[in-house]
Symmetry: none
Subunit: 181 residues, 4 copies
DNA sequence: TATGAATGAGGGTTCATTCAT
DNA sequence: AATGAATGAACCCTCATTCAT
């Protein structure tokens, strides 16, 4: 029965991500339950609060991202790793629409600070290596990079960037990141 | 009593901006009324729909921005005008928190397309002049600039940038915008 | 100034009748004011309560009807007077739509009992004469006739009878009223 | 829990009928909930809109009436069936006060056209048989009969007829319906 | 006196959360 | 453990009524 429960938890999580993506911040718990193919009671058994669900989604996403960073680090040179990661993230941003909206709307942002901090460390390592390799100017900090990253992701998400727009914007930002004072 | 009414309308508008800023998109009409020091009926007399209120705030803000652009254009050289405007906007973004969030997440965006479009034209003129003066690379379009602008504003707003952060991020973006090939 | 006031009172009354007719029970006091071409404050100066307005409309209508009965009585024979009045009333019923609806919906019905009672006496006299002339069966009372009258008026109003329907239904009822035991 | 739900649905329906009857069209959803002994949310779970609730009551009532017609048809001769049905309906009308009022005054009528049409066919069959048996004059149509029926029901309902009044009015109408030439 | 802006109780409806099955 | 019906606080909005001008 533990196996069933775990599968349900995963299903709900996936459904929540999908529904937030489609319906935005207005997504209801019932929509999520329906999409997951479970009763609404089951959603609440696993995530006693909508906030918990949100928290879980974020944590989950960040964990996957951390794995991805590690992968990139081990496969390529620091510069490529850094820029590829950045690009990938902005491109994928579209998938996080509703979650971001909800985060912005509820006072939940503090609740996800911990997972974000964990992830931040990873990103900072990525940046440090790229800087050590001379691929990124030395006068930007991890927070600046994260700020840029978040900003572009949010807008990508909000205004629905296509590939051309992505490329154009990233070219500017990357040139800026690579610039010597 | 026309005078009173006008004063109240302004009060409500200001209160709405403030409350959206503090409470995010979840702000209640009642909170706004309370903050404005009027009854809830008064809010609805002036803005029959929450959406109308939102629309009014956006229009109002964009109008002020347009005025500002014109000012900058007439006082300085194209490069300074462009970069100052960009900077100013991102800095002020913090004051528009809730509104931006609302814009980004509700289905209300279409309702404000007209003021946004009007404003876009103004920004494009600013850019064109800066490019003609050689202060901005020629391979970025108005939409790219707006995308960057919106992205940074949103994040500034969402994550509460202070001045230092603003400066750091803008330095990177400006270097990117100024970069040759 | 008294003349202005009286004219306004009449205007409001007429507007109210018209608006109730068009908008039904959902008519707002503001619609009435607008239609009367006065401010909403003026409506309330003359009729401190919506209920008062309703009451005034009913009283007004019933007074006009009483006048009409007297006219018919003095001009024709009792049978014609009775049947013409009945016919006329049902035909005109369409004009009372909203008022009837409001009466039915609010608990105001008791408030108009007095004017109705006054009118009832008039109708009963009409009936008595028609019965004395042998034109209406003797075993129906004034209340029965009023009940029939009201029933047909209401339905005429509610379901929008045309002339053909009016005629067909009245033929049946008149035959019933004329029938010997 | 399907059983509980069904019981609650029925309770709400019954409560709604009762409350509409007492409070008229102005009946509040909360009054209904209170009367049904359930939370307001339950009312909305079963009838997502006040209009839906209305629709359900009408449909329900008409269905019961259709059943009753069929019963009468199979048990007695056409004349008795017709007149008994007519009598029964007007007598029961007192129990449908609010619903009739609602039907008569809101824009909801269109929503219940289908059940009404179905029922009309039934009544027309009843009439046709009574006419074939010579119990009803041949020059009245189904619509005329329905008009009379509705008118009497509405008034019965609006003005609270007792049995004596019912009998007196119906005697007149029945004589009219039976009249030759 | 006339005006119309301001008021706020109250209505319909939604949805996170609880709880009986 | 899973279900989904029940709950009710809270939301947006309306409109009769009041009151400052």
């Amino acid at each position: 029965m533990r196996a069933d429960a775990r599968r349900n938890r995963a299903r709900v999580l996936a459904a929540a991500e999908a529904v937030f993506q489609e319906a935005g911040a207005a997504a209801t718990t019932e929509q999520i339950a329906r999409r997951a193919g479970v009763g609404i009671g089951t959603v609440f058994r696993h995530f006693p609060t909508k906030s918990d669900l949100l928290h879980a989604i974020i944590t989950d996403s960040l964990e996957r991202l951390t794995v991805r960073v590690t992968e990139l680090e081990s496969h390529g040179d620091p510069a490529t790793a850094f820029y590829d990661f950045f690009t990938e993230l902005v491109r994928q941003a579209g998938e996080k629409h509703g979650v971001m909206a909800l985060l912005a709307q509820t006072g939940e942002a503090p609740a996800v600070h911990k997972p974000i901090d964990a992830w931040r460390a990873t990103v900072e390592r990525l940046l440090a290596r790229a800087q050590a390799a001379g691929a990124v100017r030395p006068d930007v900090g991890g927070d600046d990079v994260l700020a840029l990253l978040l900003g572009l992701c949010q807008t990508a998400v909000t205004t629905g960037w296509d590939d051309t727009r992505c490329r154009a914007v990233l070219r500017v930002v990357f040139d800026g990141l690579a610039a010597r004072h």
